[in-house]
Symmetry: C2
Subunit: 443 residues, 2 copies
Amino acid sequence: MEKKVCVVGAGLVGAMLATRLAQRGMQVDVYERRPDLRKANIKAGRSINLALSDRGIRALEMVGASQRMRELSIPMHGRFLHDMDGHTSIMPYGREGQYINSISRGMLNAHLLDMAEQTGGVSLHFNSPCADVDLETATITVQDPATSQWVERPYEVIFGTDGAFSVARAKMLRTDRFNYSQQYISSGYKELSMPPLPDGRWALDKNHLHIWPRKRFMLIALPNLDGSFTCTLFLPFEGEVSFEQLVADEQVLAFFGQYFGDAKEKMDNLLHEWHSNATSSLVTVKTTPWHHKDKVLLLGDAAHAIVPFYGQGMNAGFEDVRILDGFMDKYPSWGALFAAYSQQRVADGHAIADLAVNNYTEMRDLVADPHFVKKRALSVRIGELMPQRWIPLYAMVTFSHMPYSEALRLGEKQDQILEQLVRQGIDSNSEPSDIAKAVLRYL
Amino acid sequence: MEKKVCVVGAGLVGAMLATRLAQRGMQVDVYERRPDLRKANIKAGRSINLALSDRGIRALEMVGASQRMRELSIPMHGRFLHDMDGHTSIMPYGREGQYINSISRGMLNAHLLDMAEQTGGVSLHFNSPCADVDLETATITVQDPATSQWVERPYEVIFGTDGAFSVARAKMLRTDRFNYSQQYISSGYKELSMPPLPDGRWALDKNHLHIWPRKRFMLIALPNLDGSFTCTLFLPFEGEVSFEQLVADEQVLAFFGQYFGDAKEKMDNLLHEWHSNATSSLVTVKTTPWHHKDKVLLLGDAAHAIVPFYGQGMNAGFEDVRILDGFMDKYPSWGALFAAYSQQRVADGHAIADLAVNNYTEMRDLVADPHFVKKRALSVRIGELMPQRWIPLYAMVTFSHMPYSEALRLGEKQDQILEQLVRQGIDSNSEPSDIAKAVLRYL
């Protein structure tokens, strides 16, 4: 594995992968269709901030990005729920000391690009769209920004980290026995902002992820380092309460007034942003396998684009890099490496995709559902009483490194047990011995 | 709807659709990448003969193809099962007088092309591959066979009947909120032949579909008009008994000798065909929606490629044309027509796709499974006793015109009832009054 390799896409996962490959001594060419986000004042393609948690953190530590990562992170210890009347409550994410982090996509990406360059082994090519990937020869066709000419460049292998609409994957789609699905949910999203208070402080508690759950839709807000919050409205495209119904200013204001009164007061640019910011769709992409022979491997959203409701998109992509890195010590050839990695990791990509879709229902709907709240509190309580035997699903996904597919499987088992217990009248306030006895009957 | 319309693909569904549109007074251009199969001696892209049943027949009657269709058809009244020891048994498809038909893909397609031309409204362009479909303007880019130049041709609307790897659909795949999946099953297939006996007669009973069910794999044979049978082996690609294990001549001969002894004796060209005929994969394609605005509509395999195990691929495609035709009287604009058709018919495409995959398990495995045989016989018996209340699933799919989605739903309900009855010790030999009483408890 000494020859030149190619990474298509210099987003979060591409930048981390290039860094890691160069740290392993490889020469890496990275092609990115957009300008260098460290120089150009470009809008991030998607969400402005992201939830960084343990899986992503371990991968960032692997490449040596820990310090800057911590500087950029705002810890969020739980869900800060806002009801229709403006009442609030807090639902911790895990045990004391367990939290997720709000982090700027752009600043983290910029740091990973800096790191990639500092390795000395990575050449970054911006404004260089990739038009084609020849899967049999690992040759890409890219546009040279200096001449605007399309040129072919052969490599030993190509890594496709070019996101949910990957060019490499589109090519693999046409190969025999390649399984693929893209499924959109019926809701879309729109990003809005909540500026800092006049004194520069955050308008809401900055150490929580704020949620306004409204059954068929929801608003969330994550803090930024500059004192602002980025708010995201998730709402059906069509139907009674939907994006298609919110056109005129008064409709938008009435909607926010009715459902998100306490937030609306703090969103100074609501109408302007409503009209100027895009309404975007949300897709789940599943593919099997993730590689083509010993030539091409997909990672990150290119392999498994997921909806954002578990806060795991970036974390799953970073974990791809860490797991691939671990496999590189075991497999001497690209072909064996790609096949073994795809064989193990595909099930985890499918699992986090399903978990993320399920969590949409949970966040917008079940957080406000007494039965769910009861089950969730009981699960947390069991985790406290029997920490060796019971890790709540959210914690397995967010604070552990067990395979996502294992977390999904255990989570389904836990849910069946919780249903049984609740039916028996056991809740988080029951006697610890009663809880333990009941759980052990099923575990 | 007076202007020129375009049909991409002159296969079975494209040829029927073009005929019907011209019968309605439209000017239709059809582009087909292959040569004219009526003139060139080309191999059919896929299976040589197909099972034609009631849904396909009704559509053929609609366009006026009844007489030729009957001349080309060989009725098959049931499944003719061959066990490992060469014993045989017959499982009728339905009631007396209900049968499916073996029909030549090539000859039927040729007749539909003749009919299309005879309308006077259809221009057929062969050797004219389509490289691109502009979804917003209904413009296609095709190669002119005379000049080899790629030319753009605008139309009022474009119909994509270009099969499982449709160009039009590939373009729709990149539009927002277009749901798509392609899933390959783990088995592939290979076509082989069983020539006529020296006196020209068929080597097996020609009025049945022959099946050699072997749990993980199976051989089937359908009769042709020339006295031969076309055999198809369905077998896993990989694993203990699989295509990858059958390479050398002696391996192939030993495999056929062990599992298909009575067939092998009659397959004179087995080894030659084994090596020269392709091993092909089997894919299910689902898409939602089937149209793009008022410009493009997919029909047949382009919209819903399915595996062949229910014998419904061609029938479903022909039924698409018949149902679309029915909608054309109701909807004055292309946009309303496409939306209404897609809205109703997509669920049926998904349903027949699922039914076809399920039937693979049934044909290769459950036909030889006593529990399944018992349930199936009981279902047929209930159908005889209560014909107004109970139509067996196979008959609903094959001999009725109810929506596939309805057949799937009723079939699932029937299966639950059959499970209950068998558990209670009721079978097809039970007293009619006992059967009726038990069924009515659940219906």
